[in-house]
């Protein structure tokens, strides 16, 4: 699996993400600076990391979405490439238009950093197939603007096409208001593109890929990709 991590000024989970890819795939990720205009050839996955690209100034992800490299990322996605956006990366994907909706300030108004439980809503994607029969994953969130919003018709479409990848839930998998850390509509934590090859998610799977850090549920996102991209 050949992966690249895009680095914007202000990205701060870029190294964590590259380490997670390497841990699972055994191959180092290529780090690509935002001022580049082309991606390395032969890539399987492009990842947009968490952090505060351009300081989160103006709107989260807005300035990064207009970086030179993002044109190449959009073309890569339109050509069927796999794109993973985590946290700030998800915000960039929304600003780029590769995924629908917007992320607003958390309903509680504060930055929130803690482990949350995620209900794996679909295993039919290259990012979630390793969960096999669905289930609950424990993965941390760390964000100020993770309150996902789409209009009702799009929400219906997302549900109808099973494009909601993860929802916030309690430890038993119940999708409740109490389990929602940021006020996201329908507790949505991650969504897929129509071709299911672009995933944006607020939680940070790269932070719990290692039992030494207290959990490895996050590794399944990367293992799913590895499985999906394995030569048949």
């Amino acid at each position: 699996m050949k992966t690249a991590v895009i680095v914007f000024p202000g990205s701060n989970c870029d190294r964590d993400l590259a380490r997670a890819f390497e841990r699972v795939s055994g191959r180092p990720s290529t780090m690509v600076w935002h001022k580049e205009t082309a991606l390395p050839s032969g890539l399987d996955v492009v990842a947009l990391p968490g952090g505060f690209s351009f300081g989160d100034y103006l709107r989260c992800g807005a300035i990064a979405a207009r970086s030179p490299i993002m044109r190449a990322v959009a073309e890569f996605a339109q050509g069927g490439g796999h794109v993973l956006g985590i946290c700030n990366g998800f915000q960039v994907l929304l600003e780029t238009g590769l995924l629908p909706g917007a992320l607003l300030r958390n309903a509680g108004l504060n930055f929130v950093c803690r482990d949350v439980h995620l209900n794996v809503e679909t295993t039919d994607s290259p990012f979630t197939n390793a969960w096999h029969n669905g289930g609950v994953a424990r993965i941390p969130v760390a964000h100020h603007d993770g309150n996902y919003l789409v209009d009702d018709s799009l929400l219906d479409r997302l549900h109808g096409e099973s494009r909601v990848a993860f929802t916030y839930c309690d430890a038993l998998g119940n999708v409740t208001d109490e389990a929602n850390p940021n006020g996201s509509v329908s507790n949505i934590a991650g969504v897929l593109s129509p071709n299911r090859r672009v995933l944006g998610m607020m939680p940070h799977p790269e932070r719990l890929c290692d039992p030494a850090l207290g959990g490895s549920d996050g590794a399944k996102v990367f293992e799913s990709l590895l499985g999906a991209l394995a030569p048949a």
Binding site: P9, G10, G51, G55, H144
Partner: protein, 725 residues
């Protein structure tokens, strides 16, 4: 623009005492220019010169085989083996945080991070120690909310995990909150960058953000007592920009890799002045600055303003001239300003020019070397009134009250606003004895803790100073780490008052003794004096931040016991209730002496706990501090979600036994089948111990009086509810 006439009155407005102004006249043999006066006021104020504290700071132990660089640089450097070093320091941003809590705290974090990466280290952890006024004081809520958001706003965006710290409330901080920020970074031990310039004619380069009028006079403000004129001091607030700081970090580390950097200094208080003088002084060189080359973001800035500006996210470097193009390209890549603003010169001279006009021409060495130094008179503070009544208590309901108190409840509301996991190396998260962070993926890890008990320091400065270090030592040992070294942030009132100076002298003495005995040298630090409002001083608060080393993650001792484990109390219990949390919080009685600290016993107990874990005998350990046995048992029970049954003690009252705060103690949990072996190892170590109960079920039962663990959890979780939202 005409400059104000320099005279004794203007000097006084700059915080210079009449004798200090006379010293300037004697030194240069003429009346200083306005810019020169500003330079002297910046260099000679308490904040930069440590003129009241220097005499005593020299007594602190700062050496050891592990120490690569002690105090005097941007941060301390300590060897952690394998060619790596940890670089760390703590610094206060008290006054700015009281004036503008968000930006004050944010720029405090920014400053300490710069101190660390200036030395070539990539920051891996941040902590903070916060002291606020009474929870009921009308300003407290706005202060804590702003400070916590500011710390998070800066640290989260920069991308350093904020993994721990302290939070306390006491009415003594009503008019002066304390914000002490700590940061640690990792560097190769042979690639540390220092501030001493070398070579004549080397370019002095300005890097980072542009200069504005931010905080002009800020360093002077930080050394002044607050009074009613505080409103007028407002325009000097600096605004932090974590985005620029993050780019500055990446650009500096990239530049350091190229071998272009001869020396580097962060621009902090009185930025350009202090950094340029520091580099010249350390390198025995002079410095010439041409201020028209300084990148500015405001028009018509004067030399005075540029020399005193505290605009954030700026650095000064001396570069190898042949690498200029490489350096410029790196800074352009990160969209940061890069300007050659001067050069090193052979004479002992600090020459500041603006558009060809001499604005300051001073002997450089003398600027720092002849700064005033005071041996301020001091007296031993009066002993507090004796502790008179020892109340009869129901220990389990008292525990509910103590652990639900804002001073001892869960701090989750605070740390959930901090990204404590970024970099994906946080192994032990906030809320335990010490936080543990892996070193670049491991297996090695570092433990961090921040401690001080100001009540003790006020009652008995020497014992209080010792206790702050001892508690830090204990927190590291209870986590399984070997204590390495320490940084201190000494927060006190007005040193011109002999009783305040006495607190300072006593605390430094205690800290020195403890650091020596426990082999935790002080490698960096900061002093914040004049923390007084309308003549009322804060509690003496010498914050101790200590760093410990773990060879691998197996060395970590958990806090959570297992069902059925036996609870063993390590160390001697006499039932010392003077200045205890129980008496202070539930009975409003800050009476009696602070608990004495036996450093030898402290060391033996700490080594024993680590040895017991290494032998695989214990499942968990927790240090005893505020709230004694009861709070330690309660916290372990919460960590494990398992109840605890503790017996009473024949010789002591319930208050003394459960809530006494004797030092040098730990509560450990031992599987029943390893009990005999454990006890024999403890006996061999000649450390007192008591079998006090066991961990089981879902209730806390202290001497037959019980509460539900769920009730304790609810009380503990809700203690900061008043500040939430």
């Amino acid at each position: 623009m005409t400059e104000p006439e320099v005279n004794p009155a203007l000097a006084a407005e700059h915080g210079l005492k009449p004798d200090e102004y006379q010293r300037i006249l004697d030194l240069i043999g003429r009346v200083p220019t306005f810019t020169e006066l500003g330079i002297f006021s910046a260099m000679w104020n308490e904040h930069c010169s440590y003129k009241s504290s220097k005499k005593w700071l020299r007594t602190l132990p700062t050496k050891g085989p592990q120490v690569i660089c002690g105090p005097g640089e941007n941060a301390g450097v300590v060897d952690i083996g394998d060619g790596q070093a940890v670089v760390f320091k703590m610094e206060s941003h008290n006054h700015p945080s009281y004036i503008e809590p968000y930006q004050g705290a944010a720029t405090g974090v920014g400053g300490i991070l710069r101190d660390v990466f200036t030395m070539g280290a990539r920051p891996i952890a941040a902590l903070n120690s916060l002291s606020f006024g009474s929870p009921r004081h009308p300003r407290t809520k706005a202060l804590i909310s702003g400070v916590v958001r500011g710390i998070g706003g800066y640290g989260n965006a920069f991308g350093v995990p904020t993994v721990g710290g302290e939070l306390r409330f006491h009415s003594a901080y009503d008019g002066n909150c304390l914000v002490n920020a700590f940061a640690a970074g990792i560097a190769d031990a042979d690639k540390i960058f220092y501030s001493a310039a070398s070579g004549v004619g080397m370019p002095v380069v300005y890097l980072g953000a542009k200069t504005g009028r931010d905080g002009v006079g800020g360093a002077t403000m930080a050394s002044a007592e607050f009074d009613d004129t505080i409103e007028e001091k407002r325009p000097t607030v600096q605004v932090g920009d974590p985005f620029t700081e993050k780019r500055l970090l990446e650009a500096c580390l990239e530049l350091m890799e190229t071998g272009a950097v001869i020396s580097i200094q962060d621009m902090g208080a009185a930025g350009l002045t202090c950094s340029a003088v520091e580099m010249g002084d350390k390198g025995d060189l002079g410095v010439r600055l041409d201020l028209e080359r300084v990148p500015v973001r405001e028009e018509r800035m004067t030399a005075y303003e540029m020399m005193l500006s505290e605009s954030q996210e700026r650095m000064l470097m001396v570069l190898r001239p042949e690498k200029e193009a490489v350096a410029r390209a790196i800074f352009e890549k990160w969209d940061l300003d890069f300007a050659i603003v001067g050069e090193t010169i052979a004479q002992d001279r600090f020459l500041v020019m603006l558009n060809g006009e001499v604005k300051a021409d001073l002997p450089l060495k003398a600027l720092s070397g002849t700064a005033p130094e005071y041996d301020r008179p001091w007296v031993e503070p009066a002993a507090p009134p004796p502790l008179t009544d020892i109340p009869e208590i129901d220990p389990s309901t008292a525990l509910l009250a103590v652990m639900g108190n804002p001073n001892y409840c869960s701090r989750a509301w605070v740390w959930e606003q901090y990204d404590h996991m970024v970099l994906a190396d946080t192994v032990v998260r906030p809320g335990q004895d010490a936080a543990v962070v892996r070193v670049n993926g491991g297996p090695k890890a570092l433990a961090f803790t921040s401690d001080v008990t100001p009540r003790y320091c006020k009652a008995n400065p020497v014992e209080g100073g010792k206790q702050a270090v001892a508690e830090a030592y204990r927190n590291l040992c209870a986590t399984g780490a070997t204590p390495l070294a320490t940084t201190d942030n000494l927060n006190f009132g007005n040193p011109e008052k002999p009783e305040i100076m006495g607190q300072f002298v006593g605390c430094v003495k205690g800290i020195g003794e403890a650091c020596l005995a426990l082999d935790m040298p002080i490698v960096s630090g900061n002093v914040s004096l004049y923390n007084e409002t309308d003549g009322t001083a804060i509690l003496p608060t010498p914050t101790i931040c200590a760093v410990g080393l773990l060879p691998d993650l197996d060395a970590i001792i958990p806090t959570a016991p297992q069902e059925g484990d036996v609870a063993i109390l390590i160390g001697e219990t006499t039932g010392h209730l003077g200045q205890s949390a129980l008496m202070a919080e539930l009975y409003k009685a800050e009476e009696g002496d602070a608990p004495p600290v036996d450093l030898e016993a402290e060391r033996k107990a700490g080594e024993l706990v680590r040895a017991l874990h290494a032998a695989g005998l214990i499942t968990a350990a927790h240090d005893l501090s505020d709230g004694g046995l009861a709070v330690a048992a309660g916290e372990m029970a919460l960590a494990a979600n398992i109840g605890v049954i503790l017996a009473d003690n024949d010789l002591l009252t319930a208050a003394e036994w459960f809530f006494g705060e004797d030092q040098g103690r730990y509560l450990i949990s031992v599987p029943a089948e390893r009990l005999r072996e454990t006890m024999s190892q403890i006996l061999d170590a000649e450390v007192p111990c008591t079998h006090v109960g066991h961990f089981t079920g879902h209730r806390l039962d202290f001497a037959g009086r019980a509460i539900d663990l769920a009730d304790l959890r609810a009380a503990h979780a809700g203690g900061l509810a008043a500040f939430a939202g």
